[in-house]
């Protein structure tokens, strides 16, 4: 009997084992932490899940920025609750990632020293209150499309974390859309602010789905192994289809003159994405990459006293109870 969360060393890859593993995936079985898995499957999942977890944590920063400036108590409560949720989501996924045999400490270190990637969308600044609305509407909206698919991923702990997250994510999108709607139906200045935020957040949100299928080196393997069920382009199209009507309903224009409905495919065709911008931001040269990393490191350092105090408190309680015994 072994500790359920520590994986034994994988034997050198055996083609028969790989074939059986792929048969399990084809049967729709869930792969669990102690099951045999190809080393590459493990590595891909650690990469994907840790990037996802880091994204949740870093995502708290652009929104946390506006908590003290939310325009009403209702907005402030909602935003605090949303940011708390993002922390929780990060923690669910870190825990899921650890089942693959990597330590929390290593994951955090990789984020703090800049070697780990996270979703580039969070490297953009939140310049106005309308940005907070757009984040909920577009960014969480895109996340919902992605996470709904991942809820059926072949790796059990990831899929289960996604199910939990999907339940909570819906309020995030509605909160965002409600903010943008309120502004769009407000004063001319508020409308302009909403439109400006839409103009800045639309294209980066489309980039959240990753490079186009033709340029996505990881997708084929991830789909073969049941981690992803749909391609980047399919999910991106789904998000566009869902969102166009939402923008029209509040009379805001999506900044894409090429948007047009195709009767045959029932899809909203859209214009070209600036993939140069995407790669620049992924490689660390976005508007806020350095600021985000600095903020995370500051938070880690400034929070050290909490970790020290917690350990000291527990040690003290332990000593008191063994004295009493």
């Amino acid at each position: 009997m072994t500790n359920p969360t520590v994986h034994p060393a994988a034997p050198s890859e055996d083609p028969a084992k790989t074939a059986e593993f792929e048969a399990r995936i084809a049967r729709g079985e869930s792969i669990e932490p102690k099951d045999w898995m190809p080393e590459r499957y493990r590595k891909q999942l650690i990469r994907m899940m840790s990037q996802h977890a880091h994204s949740e944590i870093v995502g708290m920063l652009p929104e946390g920025n506006w908590i003290t400036r939310a325009p009403s108590l209702r907005r402030k409560m909602s935003l605090i609750a949303k940011v708390q949720d993002e922390a929780g989501h990060g923690l669910y996924i870190y825990c899921g990632t650890e089942t693959l045999g990597v330590s929390r400490q290593d994951l955090i270190q990789a984020l703090l020293n800049g070697t780990a990637k996270y979703s580039s969308i969070f490297n953009y600044p939140t310049l106005t209150w309308a940005d907070i609305g757009c984040i909920g509407w577009f960014v969480d909206g895109a996340a919902i499309v992605n996470q709904t698919m991942l809820a059926k991923a072949s790796y059990g702990p990831y899929a289960r974390a996604m199910v939990r997250i999907c339940k909570e994510e819906n309020f995030h999108k509605r909160q965002g859309y409600e903010i943008v709607t309120t502004l769009a139906q407000g004063t001319p200045e508020q409308r302009a602010m909403a439109q400006d935020a839409v103009n800045r957040w639309w294209w980066p949100s489309l980039m959240m789905f990753g490079p186009p299928d033709t340029a996505s080196s990881n997708s084929e393997e991830l789909i073969k192994w049941g981690v992803k069920k749909k391609s980047n382009d399919e999910l991106r199209q789904r998000f566009v289809n869902l969102t166009v009507g939402q923008a029209k309903a509040i009379d805001l224009t999506l900044p894409d003159p090429a948007l047009s409905y195709d009767e045959k495919t029932e899809n909203w065709a859209f214009g070209p994405i600036d993939w140069d911008e995407f790669w620049r931001v992924v490689k660390g040269d976005g508007p806020c990459n350095r600021e985000r990393l600095a903020a995370r490191n500051d938070a880690h350092d400034a929070g050290a006293w909490v970790r020290v105090a917690a350990a000291a408190h527990a040690a003290k309680q332990q000593a008191l109870s063994s004295e009493a015994a």
Partner: protein, 109 residues
Amino acid sequence: MAESHETSVTNGQTPGDSQWPLWEVFLQPPKGEAHEHAGSVHAVSAEQALQNARDVYARRGEAVSIWVVPSASITASTPEDMGPFFDPGNDKPYRHPQFYKVPRGVRVF
């Protein structure tokens, strides 16, 4: 905020930081269902594990009761055991209601 006694180290690791033990979290939803595994938390003590579990897994009243168990305390069957360990139960159809024939038209429950 109290001043930290630890100096900031460039790799982000505070001297004295160590990875806290792992605990598995089980939540009991309202309406009398059984505790169900929800995930895990790191915590330095049982009390902290309960608080962390509540903050991470129960923000929306999902739980009326929470259990936290050190992961190291859990004994589990392994995938390799699967065959022989569970085998005796797999080929006894007479443990299932469908095995038994009843006259047509008769309601048994």
